[in-house]
């Protein structure tokens, strides 16, 4: 790029099942890499300070703030973004479907981050209670819904399992 004082490196990683290799600035965040290099704009930036959780993605199955993670840190790892849940034309993923059915989104800006956080939560090998859901989703901010319908959407997925 234009700024010669910035170092670059090649990063190889898997995103939503597809392998990518790209030369990126060493200081490029994973969020910017996903949004700009791969044009996966479903990952939204809300604060770029690691607080709001809107940019949450999975890195080898664990949730990370993609605004505080460098693309280079994802080297050799597998990233899941909101675009990885259901391909165009396919039915929605059960978490996406539950969010819509329970009206767990209004403006929808925080929604991809929430859905990714829920994916991680549902993978937990522990009994998932309402309070655990509240706790685990407290790293994600939503200004529209008041959270209740988000919690209900998640609880409905647990009921379906049993």
């Amino acid at each position: 790029m234009k700024n010669s004082f910035r170092s670059h490196r090649t990063v190889s990683l898997t995103v939503n099942g597809n392998d990518h290799s790209a030369l990126v600035a060493s200081n490029r965040t994973l969020a910017d890499f996903l949004r700009e290099n791969l044009e996966l704009t479903g990952t939204n930036l809300g604060c770029e300070q690691g607080v709001c959780g809107a940019c949450t993605v999975l890195l080898d199955g664990r949730s990370v703030r993609s605004c505080l993670t460098l693309a280079a840190q994802a080297e050799g790892q597998s990233v899941t973004t909101i675009e990885g849940l259901s391909k165009q034309g396919e039915p929605l993923h059960p978490v996406q479907e539950a969010f819509s059915r329970f009206h767990a989104l209004q403006c929808g800006y925080c929604t991809p981050g929430f859905i990714i956080a829920v994916l991680e939560l549902l993978d937990e090998p522990v009994p998932i209670t309402r309070d655990l859901v509240r706790e685990r989703l407290s790293g994600n901010l939503c200004r529209c819904t008041g959270y209740q319908n988000i919690i209900s959407a998640v609880m409905s997925l647990l009921e379906n399992e049993t």
Partner: protein, 780 residues
């Protein structure tokens, strides 16, 4: 029986693109060769600008331009005051004094607040623009600043704006019934000064503006995350001295808003795009947002309540002082909203209010969700609880004695609303709403449980708040509707959403009138080229104004469809029926014409035998202008626990009975209630945009400015007790802000109840754990 869609809890059409990541928010819109902008903002609350040197910054590779105020010779910010032209009668009756208002686009020789834009750097990417901004050398001479209402009103205070003597920018006075000084002296009197902290709207998406200049058409296309695309178009046109038609405003998917207005950035980015002949985009960052946008509340209110030994309320008198910040684009909107809602659903015959907008060296105050209603409700519901305690009457009982009875509705409040119409509570049953809320919350049972909690050493309390909410303000909203050749019904309206679900709810309304499925109705509302006129989404007005005009236009479109089919089928309109996207003879459904076929025939008018083809084009336009606002209402009951060692407040349960009139989509309305409650909870317990005594902002990240998270919220139970309004054809009332109005007061009253019998004088919002401990243990 035809299925009715108004009233159905349909999942939203908006959702698919939002849950899959396909939505296009401002930062997602691809625009080739787009330049990026960064603003250089004042670090001083008050200072003279001695010099600006951009020479080093301009040497950075990739920097395209740096604009300062001296470059803005051919543009000037438009004059704004309010979205509404106050009527001469209103100005006279309520003794309104307002100054003409112009906020500089870029500071010329003086900055008046931290964050005020001083220069605009345009570069090939944002990091270069930000790096270059660091190299611009600005010499300031710091001046004394005023950081709060009291210091600003001091006769020796420095003036925020030399043209505004005494730092008082706008005033009004309301007087209903007997002035308080002439009231009988035997009445009991409560006097308190309430402090309402400054809060910030905080949508999760920050603001953004993008603009593209098209030299061939001499037109600017502006993308902005705004609630008011048409008003913004006029503002940009006037500021850039351009024709309105030469500006097109497009609103992308928007990540919330919660507070409106126009900002200098929305003129400067289009200006830069025009000057440079290239697309330019600015994306606000979170710190910029917390410092510069959607600040609200921030008031000091002196309140006097007169009541008698039976707990009957007789008079309320308010002195409302708003910390307006350095500029005052909304005039007296907020303090006048407080005066308009101060008596809530209570019968208080004598009322006085005086409002002043006080300039300080802080960010401008703008309406945010609730816009005066939470503040007003906090004041009256705290006072009523204090009065109840002074008489040893239960807070529920004193409310029963003072709510306006249903047979006194509609209730004229003896003053004018901001729109110039008499302020009249048009419909509702407030005592019934309170009864329902007490039942829903199990109020009587709670009083028994409370004794058990106390025996266990737990401070658990219950609080009630009752509010009214003026919704659906004019002046108007427009809609254009048509049918295309595929048979889809197309709706174009100027009310532009940012989470409110217009694509679904407006489709439900049209579907009912046209006897089609809502899936066959497509709603367009984000583009000023598609809809010639529009007002916007704010003040809980969209369901009322856009909903009503879509209903009206649907009726007109239905008439057109019938009329056209009647000609083609050679059949009287009265013998035709609309169903399933077809118009058919009642006795011969197989001969019917689909909407698509009618659209095709209408578009090839030469084939028709009609003498007046324009009357039969399948396109209608309507305008809805409400005669007055319609009043929603709600009764909220909060149950909270206070940790008396730490001051931590936990809201345990929350109950609402609401009157939003006719409900179009209960999923959406309940969502508005939940969101509104939690916004109010945040305002009461967590959120404050803090400034130090030099007017330096102290809360500049989400680590300092705390929003509620999932762990902070109680289970919320919402019950509807609708009383459709007679003021619009659907009977709808706005539902977007009411819940925010009562949540702070209900929680505050529950806190006081929880810690009783220790008396605390809770007159401030928010209340932090530290402050609560100070109130509980004044000796510490």
């Amino acid at each position: 029986m035809v299925e009715k869609f108004v009233g159905a809890g349909l999942s939203r059409f908006e959702d698919h693109r939002l849950v899959t990541g396909e939505a296009k928010f401002m930062a997602d819109i691809p625009l080739p060769d787009c330049l990026e902008a960064a603003f250089i903002r004042s670090h001083f609350a008050a200072a003279e600008i001695k010099s600006i040197d951009t020479s080093e910054a301009l040497k950075i590779e990739g920097v395209q331009a740096i604009f300062t105020a001296s470059d803005l010779t051919n543009i000037e910010p438009a004059l704004t005051r309010d979205f509404y032209n106050l009527t001469p009668e209103f100005v006279e009756r309520h003794s309104v004094e307002l100054r003409a208002y112009r906020e500089p686009l870029l500071a010329l020789d003086r900055v008046r607040r931290v964050g005020e834009p001083v220069a605009l750097v345009i570069a090939t990417d944002r990091s270069i623009a930000e790096d270059a901004a660091e190299l611009v050398d600005i010499e300031y001479q710091e001046l004394p600043a005023v950081a709060d209402i009291l210091s600003a009103l001091d006769p020796d205070a420095p003036l925020v704006n030399p043209e505004v003597p005494g730092n008082v920018d706008a005033t009004f006075e309301v007087s209903v019934g007997t002035p308080i000084r002439n009231m009988p002296s035997h009445l009991r009197q409560l006097f308190r000064t309430f402090r309402i902290g400054r809060s910030v709207g905080c949508p999760i998406e920050n603001r953004g503006v993008m603009a593209k200049w098209d030299p061939e058409d001499s037109r600017l296309t502006v993308w902005s995350s705004t609630q008011i695309p048409h008003l913004l178009r006029s503002y940009i046109a006037e500021s850039l001295r351009s024709e309105t038609e030469a500006i097109r405003v497009i609103v992308p998917d928007m990540g919330g808003s919660f507070g409106g207005g126009v900002y200098p950035e929305e003129v400067l980015i289009p200006f830069a795009a025009r000057e440079l002949g290239k697309p330019v985009r600015w994306l606000e960052d979170r710190t910029e947002s917390l410092v510069n946008a959607r600040h609200s509340r921030d008031l000091s209110i002196d309140a006097t309540l007169l009541y008698d030994d039976a707990g009957t309320l007789h008079a309320l008198d308010l002195d409302i002082r708003q910390d307006t910040g350095a500029y005052n684009p909304f005039g007296l909107t907020l303090p006048f909203n407080i005066a308009s809602h101060a008596r809530g659903p209570y019968s208080i015959e004598n009322f006085g209010a005086r409002g002043v907008c006080v300039l300080t060296n802080k960010t401008r105050n703008t309406p945010v969700r609730g816009a005066g209603r939470p503040e007003a409700t906090f004041v009256i519901d705290r006072l009523i609880d204090m009065a109840a305690r002074s008489l040893s009457i239960d807070p529920a009982e004193i409310r029963k004695r003072n709510l306006i009875p249903s047979d006194a509705m509609p209730s004229d409040q003896g003053m004018l609303y901001r729109d110039g119409a008499p302020l009249i509570y048009d419909s509702g049953d407030y005592p019934d709403q309170l009864r329902k809320a007490l039942d829903l919350a199990g109020y009587e049972d709670f009083r028994e449980r409370q004794v058990e909690f106390r025996a266990l050493g737990r401070a658990v309390g219950i609080g009630i708040s009752c509010h009214v909410e003026a919704t659906g303000i004019g002046p108007h909203e427009d809609a254009r509707m048509t049918v295309n050749e595929s048979g889809k019904v197309l709706v174009y309206t100027g009310s532009c959403p940012h989470g409110q679900s217009h694509e679904t709810t407006l489709a439900q309304i049209a579907a009912d009138e046209l006897s089609v499925s809502p899936e066959d109705v497509v709603v367009y509302s984000r583009d000023t080229d598609l809809v010639p006129l529009g007002v916007g989404t704010f003040g809980s007005r969209s369901a009322v104004t856009a909903g009503s005009v879509v209903q009206q236009a649907s009726v007109s479109l239905r008439e057109r469809l019938l009329s056209l089919a009647s000609e083609f089928l050679e059949c009287a309109e009265s013998d035709l029926v609309l169903q399933g996207g077809k118009v058919s003879p009642k006795d011969a459904p197989h001969l019917g014409l689909s909407f698509g076929e009618l659209a095709k025939k209408a578009s090839s008018q030469s084939e028709t035998p009609l003498s007046r083809p324009s009357d039969l084009a399948l396109e209608v336009e309507e305008r809805f202008s409400p005669s007055a606002v319609t009043f929603g209402s709600g009764t909220h009951i909060a149950i909270v626990e206070v940790d008396t060692d730490t001051g931590l407040v936990t809201v345990l349960e929350y109950f609402v009975v609401a009157d939003c009139g006719t409900i179009i989509n209960p999923l959406v309305v309940d969502g508005q209630q939940h969101g509104g409650i939690v916004h109010g909870l945040g305002n009461m317990l967590l959120e404050e945009s803090d400034y130090d005594s030099f007017a330096q902002p102290m809360t500049t990240t989400f680590l300092d400015y705390l929003l509620p998270v999932a762990l902070d919220i109680p289970p919320m139970t919402v019950l509807h007790s609708p009383h459709p309004t007679p003021l619009n054809p659907l009977g709808v009332k706005g539902a977007g802000e009411g819940a925010t109005a009562s949540a702070p007061a209900a929680i505050a009253n529950a806190i006081v109840d929880a810690v009783s019998p220790t008396p605390i004088d809770l007159t401030e919002m928010p209340i932090s754990p530290c402050r609560l401990i100070e109130l509980l243990r004044p000796s510490i």
